[in-house]
């Protein structure tokens, strides 16, 4: 009989190596590796980017479809219970941001096994939309992807957080770089591991180039981790995240 304890099998990692091309998300572990495997969408993207506008657009949609399919496949695999499938179950391309995500199946929740892949997916979308706009008159949008670029004003917005709470609270904000600081709104912050009432939406304003986030935590708010998105008022797209941990 093996003397091993039941602990000593390692979990399968989310990915087994770096994703070298930011356009490519990590492949699902089940993806076949033989030559008959579906063509890597990155190659398709490469061809399209180098080609004419119409090729670029059609390949973009092919890419979007491919990512949607993968995301949905992964969601089906992991969340067999249809009630827990969250917005990844949305069959419509473009439906990704159409509804507020449920707290349990939130694909951006770091505790969620889909987190890494969906973040890559979202990133790929941003890269691709940026690439598409480059074909249009007016060129690239001002946002540049490198969050560290020292010379180009591409740093994330400065954030000032004001908390009204009688207990120790830890707040984490993540705003994407290159944002128009006007017109941001927060959604209520939902508890990630309980059915506690959400924390009311944070107030977001802008003053002297600094995003000011004001959060009020009620005295009776249960301890735990709460999460919500910051969205653009204009189109409802996700512009960042807000996490509050109440001790």
């Amino acid at each position: 009989m093996s003397p091993r304890s039941p602990h000593n099998k390692r979990p399968k990692p989310d990915q087994t190596g770096p994703v070298r091309n930011p356009i490519a998300p990590p492949l699902p572990p089940s993806a076949p590796k033989d030559s008959a495997a579906p063509r890597n969408p990155v190659e398709a993207v490469g061809t399209a980017v180098c080609g004419a506008l119409e090729n670029g657009v059609s390949t973009a949609y092919a890419l979007i479809d491919e990512y949607m399919r993968r995301g949905q496949d992964a969601a089906r695999t992991i969340f067999n219970d249809p009630t827990r499938r969250g917005n990844m179950s949305d069959e419509r391309p473009g439906g990704f941001n159409s509804a507020p995500p449920s707290s349990t199946a939130n694909p951006f929740n770091s505790a969620n096994p889909l987190a890494a892949m969906t973040e890559q997916w979202m990133y790929a979308m941003r890269v691709w939309s940026q690439a598409l706009t480059s074909f249009a008159p007016g060129g690239w949008p001002p946002a540049v992807m490198n969050p560290f670029a020292p010379q180009q004003g591409t740093t994330p917005p400065k954030v000032s957080v004001k908390i009204s709470s009688s207990r120790p609270v830890e707040v984490t904000t993540n705003l994407y770089p290159g944002l128009d600081l006007l017109g941001l709104t927060s959604e209520p912050l939902r508890a990630e591991a309980s059915k506690a009432a959400p924390i009311p939406a944070a107030e977001i304003s802008r003053e002297s180039g600094v995003v000011q986030v004001s959060i009020r935590v009620a005295d009776k708010q249960p301890a735990g981790r709460y999460h919500g998105y910051i969205r653009k008022k204009a189109d409802g797209q996700v512009a960042g995240e807000l996490t509050v941990v109440i001790s």
Partner: protein
């Protein structure tokens, strides 16, 4: 962890950066003590290749020169968290925050040999945005952002070169270059075509205009820039490259400042051309696509001039990562993808400062706080444990192979069965000693008399053995020993797994040499007229010098020296020619011989090369040995009557510190062309209950440095616990 759950026992073997990072991650409070970690370390101290010790007079004695780069996001984040946690539990320790432990080092130099001797190109890098380890947005770094920054840099460099070259009478001409205002893609392409119709970019004004157009093209039409050879933008780039090479050829010796700028322009243009020709931005392998090439070979293929490739700037990059095969300085070899990734990260993503220096020894700044924090979290440390063998489960089992046993030699027993207390206090700074606390060891006095080389490969004396069994003593293993030691301790793993065989076969390491000087004259008094630098590309056998005088207050020099105190500290390092490939034949005699070689190299270097750095350190063609400070035998004041009558010679070097890093565990891990594909990741699942950790593993960065080691440790922790998330490892998913 629920009260009913048994903790998972982790055996971390080795106490280097990667191993301790894994321990740090697995014992985070968020895990709620789910993982019970024990670190097994040979000898008396943690640190691996980053270990340091306090010697005579509290001198800091390093394994080699360690500088942190401003893009070491994961390493700095680890340190910031570590210091914050230490300060909670040990509020009286000095260096309460990471910023007290690290200082910006923005002045960098490279050395160029000219007809007139060595000349130094000093550069001051402005502060980068924020500080390393600051929160990031989570966005990966992208090729397009790099290329746009590279093009912007070209414009700035061309402008500055133009300003240096332009005679007053030509000012108006240079200024007359049309300022490229914002224009649409069609207008831009039309402007490029018009410029190219003139043929060669013969004037500075034309080159400036061309570079400005290139920048606009990068802003507007980056996908088209990638469309390959033949496009107008590619033609523009080609013309710029030709112009830069032509400009380099015409520059004479007197124009060295301008020439250096053109060399950098030439190299950046070669990178841009190579990125277009190789389709790097769209290659799913990222920069790894060019890892079979040597860095200079790839630049040469893409049009870089021989003059640029031989420049001090280029040699400095090879020096920085000891990229000389078999330690032969005539065989520079560095995988092009690793170099390109490193250069992009180094120059375009640094934060705070290009380099950071530690304000004490690396052991004191990095490993003592880690030790204290981990200990406080409940991690057990078993010093004097030398791993002998990793035993695998039966090959005939149907189960995937797993580690069944771990065999250790116990190098010493701790007196009274107590726990070994490894640190010493130096000016209220917990530090590691250069030698073990023999008083804590059974038969310590006898060991001290005869001397023990606990960290060596050859001193295999032992006081006992220990066998750990899976399920009884451990559940998972983090194998954090260096790749050089694997053949000795992991033979079963190598025999069982062909990929491990490939990894060990292709993963090359190189011995290094280093020495440190404590001098009684400041570097300014010795004739160095620039800010304190980190300087590379200098004369072999020691190509790299770092001015480390900021460490003087951290040491404890005796009172007798107060009249002539230590006024400067200098560290030198380089590769050491490899006469025992991969450390396979390291014996005590061999190590002694190698140390003798390093000493002879240092003495020869000081006599013949130091004068180029410090003109006043040399007298009558010889190094002034009297300026070396000795804690044991203080010598007379330099220039005094006593000193003149009893002038010390090279034997005074004996009082300094030098090392020959030839042990398998001490050798530097190289990134040779064609070798990277054979590296295994800590995420590799070949063995069920084992992961690996070290800068020799596949870390995404794949270079021998602190950041690589920390990434490896993060990956090892992820392999066991699923945390941290891969997306939290900054720069892992990098092209």
């Amino acid at each position: 962890m629920a009260a009913s759950e048994k903790p998972i026992r982790i055996a971390v073997i080795g106490g280097g950066c990667a191993a301790l990072t894994a321990a740090f991650e697995l014992t985070r409070p968020e895990h709620n003590r789910r993982y019970q970690v024990t670190v097994y370390q040979m000898g008396w101290r943690l640190g691996g290749k980053g270990a340091s010790g306090r010697g005579v007079a509290g001198r800091i004695e390093e394994h080699g020169l360690h500088l942190w780069l401003g893009f070491y996001e994961n390493a700095f984040r680890l340190m910031r968290e570590c210091y914050a946690e230490r300060n909670q539990h040990f509020p009286n320790a000095r260096f309460a925050t990471w910023r007290e432990a690290f200082s910006p080092a923005p002045d960098v130099g490279v050395a160029d040999r000219t007809q007139n001797g060595w000349e130094f190109w000093m550069a001051h890098f402005p502060p980068g945005n924020g500080e390393p380890g600051d929160a990031t947005t989570g966005d990966p770094l992208t090729v397009d952002a790099y290329l746009r920054q590279a093009v912007t840099l070209v414009v700035e460099l061309v402008r500055s070169a133009g300003a240096m070259e332009t005679k007053p009478s030509n000012d108006a001409k240079a200024e007359a270059a049309p300022a490229s205002s914002a224009m649409g893609p069609e207008a831009l392409l039309s402007s490029i075509s018009a410029l190219l119709r003139y043929g060669q970019l013969a004037t500075t004004a034309a080159i400036i205009e061309a570079s400005q157009l290139l920048r606009q093209a990068a802003d507007l039409l980056l996908p088209q820039v990638f469309s390959g050879i033949g496009s107008p933008i590619a033609q523009l780039l080609e013309s710029l490259s030709v112009a830069s090479r032509r400009r380099l050829e015409t520059l004479v010796e007197e124009d060295r400042e301008v020439r250096r700028v053109w060399q950098v322009i030439d190299i950046i243009l070669a990178i841009l051309r190579g990125s277009i020709r190789g389709g790097l931005a769209l290659d799913p392998r990222g920069f790894d696509a060019i890892n079979d090439y040597d860095w200079r070979e790839w630049l040469r293929m893409n049009g870089a001039s021989e003059q640029s490739l031989a420049s001090g700037f280029m040699r400095g990059i090879y020096d920085l990562v000891f990229a000389f095969e078999d330690g032969d300085v005539n065989r520079p070899r560095l995988a092009a993808g690793v170099a390109l990734r490193g250069a992009m990260r180094m120059f375009f993503t640094y934060r705070g400062s290009l380099f950071w220096r530690m304000n004490a020894g690396m052991g004191d700044v990095v490993f003592a706080p880690l030790y204290q924090v981990l200990k406080h979290r409940g991690v057990r440390f078993e010093f004097f444990h030398r791993l002998r063998n990793v035993g695998l489960s039966s090959a005939e089992s149907n189960e995937p192979p797993y580690v069944e046993t771990l065999d250790f030699d116990l190098q010493a027993h701790i007196a009274g069965g107590r726990e070994y207390e490894p640190l010493v206090d130096v000016h209220n700074l917990p530090s590691w000693p250069s030698k073990p606390h023999y008083s804590q060891l059974v038969n310590g006095s006898a060991m001290a008399r005869t001397g023990r080389a606990f960290e060596s490969a050859w001193d295999t004396r032992r006081a006992g053995v220990k066998k750990l069994k899976v399920g009884h003593d451990f559940d998972f293993v983090v194998l954090g020993v260096s790749i050089g030691a694997l053949p000795d301790v992991a033979g079963e793993l190598i025999d069982r797994a062909p990929r491990w065989q490939q990894m060990v076969h292709h993963g090359k390491t190189v011995p290094t040499q280093a020495f440190q000087l404590w001098m009684r004259e400041s570097t300014a008094e010795l004739g160095w007229n620039f800010p304190p630098p980190n300087l590379s590309g200098f004369v072999e056998p020691f190509d790299t010098w770092a001015e480390m005088s900021h460490l003087i207050p951290e040491e404890s020099w005796p009172k007798e020296l107060r009249k002539h105190p230590v006024r400067s500290i200098a560290y030198f390092c380089s590769v050491l020619p490899d006469t025992a490939k991969d450390g396979s034949a390291v014996t005590e005699q061999f190590h002694r011989r190698q140390k003798d070689i390093v000493r002879a190299n240092a003495i020869q270097f000081l006599n013949s090369g130091a004068g180029a750095l410090w003109p006043k350190a040399v007298q009558e063609g010889k190094f002034r040995w009297a300026i070396l400070a000795s804690a044991d035998k203080p010598v007379a004041k330099p220039g005094s009557k006593r000193a003149r009558s009893n002038r010390p010679g090279p034997e005074q070097f004996e009082s300094q510190y030098w090392s020959a890093n030839v042990n398998p565990t001490d050798r530097y891990v190289q990134s040779l062309p064609g070798s990277l594909v054979h590296r295994l990741s800590p995420l590799d699942m070949t063995f069920d209950n084992l992961t690996i950790a070290g800068d020799w593993t596949a870390t995404g960065l794949d270079s021998g440095c602190i950041e690589s080691a920390v990434i490896s440790g993060l990956l090892a922790a992820h392999a066991i616990s699923g945390k941290p998330g891969i997306c939290e490892i900054v720069g892992y998913n990098h092209p």
